[in-house]
């Protein structure tokens, strides 16, 4: 049955025909994450390839969001989290004793499930990361804000009202603003935690289109509860179950010829 491609939820959007041998941007090796006494992630080793979209799928509570937050040390902010194993960014362990988590988060940006713009103007939202990094030159700020808003496909909608509050934007626009805000500090990797789960179908389509454009320049890891979305936007897919990585591979292969029975059961909707 898995040999029949029509049975898959959806075919991957773009034919994966981009330059051969993508380089490795991030990688976890034997990663364990504990919340207090309970284990959330068990022995996960996963590559994150540069300029590719990696989707993390799996049922609720399978650890995919926890795994995502481990990649840029956002879990440091939660009391009682313990991380074992290695998370390498360009070959260097981001949990190394000489590494500043603030520096890691500048290189590995994040977009959250619920859009969370600051109650400031559109301009100041995008400029926030630049300002805290010490950028004061007005022309540089203006230029980077425009580039980021264009990059997030929002510029044409907001260019005439950059000084108005970001909270006046629609839900979909707010989420694209958050993406622009993350892009402004030019991270190497962008983590997205169910970025479209609170959006209507049209806004979701725009965000997905944006993700496909962004992979030209950025490495993206996206957590999604929607298998269709994973199939549409990602190049590689990792299936998590009960805190363990069950299967990783090219998205097309995962959705058409999964190697593990559990993966097949999940993508064909038998559980989850």
């Amino acid at each position: 049955m898995p040999a029949d491609p029509t049975h898959a939820v959806a075919a991957p959007a773009a034919p994966v025909d981009r330059d051969a041998a993508p380089e490795l941007r991030m990688e976890t090796r034997g990663l364990n994450v504990d919340y207090g006494s309970s284990r959330a992630i068990t022995d996960v080793s996963l590559p994150v390839l540069a300029c590719r979209v990696t989707a993390l799928i799996g049922p609720s509570g399978c650890g995919k969001s926890t795994f995502l937050r481990t990649l840029n040390r956002m879990n440091d902010l939660v009391d009682g989290v313990r991380v074992e194993g290695k998370v390498l960014l360009d070959g260097r362990d981001v949990y190394g004793s000489d590494v500043d988590p603030v520096e890691v988060r500048r290189r590995v940006g994040m977009v959250f499930q619920r859009s969370n713009p600051f109650p400031k103007s559109i301009f100041e939202n995008v400029a926030f990361g630049l300002r805290i990094a010490g950028e004061k030159r007005v022309n540089v700020l203006a230029e980077k804000v425009e580039t980021s808003l264009r990059g997030a496909a929002l510029w044409d909608e907001v260019k005439d009202r950059l000084d108005t509050s970001a909270l006046a934007l629609s839900g979909g626009q707010q989420q694209r603003l958050c993406i622009a805000r993350a892009l402004a500090i030019e991270p190497e990797v962008v983590l997205m935690d169910e970025p479209a789960s609170a959006l209507d179908p049209i806004a979701t389509a725009r965000v997905e289109e944006l993700i496909r454009e962004l992979r030209e320049r950025y490495t993206i890891v996206i957590v999604t509860h929607s298998m269709q979305q994973a199939a549409r936007v990602s190049d590689h897919t990792a299936f998590f179950y009960m805190g363990a990585l069950i299967e990783y591979g090219e998205t097309k292969q995962i959705f058409t010829k999964p190697k593990k029975q559990q993966t097949e059961d999940y993508i064909t909707g038998r559980f989850g």
């Binding site: 959250f112 109650p119 926030f128």
Partner: protein, 303 residues
């Protein structure tokens, strides 16, 4: 069955209704005599002139000035200390931290200490310990006390300790009300903890913190007990020009007029007029706090 229930209802309604009526009557009973007897005495001279030596004639300008100066100095002392403590408790202390628990318990107990005890503490700690200590260190004892005597500085610091719990508790509430999502967004963009506090948390908590400050000011402006021993003067025909000067105060002036005046009947209009000015001052400060709080709430709902 139904009859019984509706009778209980009626009794409870009557009881709570009369409690409300009693409360309103008390307020009216305080305000009406104060303003009926006091207002005729209030004119420009009363608000801008110095009192006569028997306190009854003239105006209360030094008391208005002294109260304002005292409250201002108190605010300068209590706001940084209170906001910093609240920032530590909400942003830095680890959850279930022993120290934070102890500090919170101390703050709540501090709020329950009678104000006269603060007065004695101010005298003992600020005037005698700190003030005399400075004198012993810096000056020749033959010159007499310089810092080691009651002064507006020591009074304002004593009031700052008294109002500290108000500022800490309201600021803590305001900081907690800032959505967690905003903090995550800030950290996610590579902000340090301090950058997140200064650029995201504090600006979003500003209105709530301001409410706490105004509440502290209105509480502090009306307190008399803490300043009796630490700097308030019965009668002082000049305005304080130095932190080490004593000062007149509206609340203390009321106390002086009602207990120290040679002719109580003659002092009545002045007494009530002073009370009216003091009440107007504290009521308007409370009003500012209410308006600020309403504005914060409506903004929180708009989100």
């Amino acid at each position: 069955m139904m009859r019984g229930a509706s009778r209980t209802d009626w009794v409870l309604f009557a009881l709570s209704g009369s409690a409300v009526a009693l409360m309103l009557l008390t307020l009216v009973g305080i305000l009406v005599p104060v303003f009926v007897e006091g207002l005729p005495r209030i004119d420009l001279v009363f608000l801008t002139a110095q009192p006569s030596a028997d306190l009854v004639g003239g105006g209360i300008w030094p008391a208005i000035f002294g109260t304002t100066l005292l409250t201002l100095l108190m605010t300068l002392a209590v706001v940084p200390a209170g906001v910093a403590t609240a920032i530590y408790l909400t942003e830095y202390a680890p959850r279930r931290s022993r120290l934070a628990t102890v500090v919170r318990a101390a703050v709540h107990n501090l709020a329950g200490v009678p104000s006269i005890v603060f007065g004695l503490f101010g005298l003992g700690f600020f005037v005698l310990f700190v003030g005399r200590g400075l004198d012993a260190l810096l000056y020749d004892p033959a010159d007499g006390p310089v810092w080691g005597q009651p002064a507006v500085l020591w009074s304002s610091l004593t009031l700052a300790v008294l109002t500290l719990p108000v500022v800490i508790v309201t600021t803590e509430e305001a900081l907690r009300a800032v959505p967690h999502d905003l903090r995550l967004a800030s950290y996610g963009l590579g902000a340090t903890r301090w950058q997140t506090i200064a650029q995201v948390v504090l600006p979003n908590a500003r209105a709530g913190i301001l409410t706490g400050v105004v509440l502290a000011v209105s509480r502090g402006a009306g307190e008399v007990a803490p300043i009796i021993f630490t700097g308030a003067a019965n009668f002082l025909p000049y305005l304080p020009t130095d932190l080490r000067d004593m000062y007149m105060h509206l609340g203390y002036h009321v106390f002086a007029l009602s207990t120290q005046s040679p002719n109580v009947d003659l002092a009545r209009p002045t007494l009530f007029a002073t009370v009216a000015v003091l009440l107007t001052l504290t009521f308007s400060l409370n009003l500012v706090a209410v308006v600020l709080r309403a504005r914060t709430r409506s903004r929180a709902h708009a989100r």
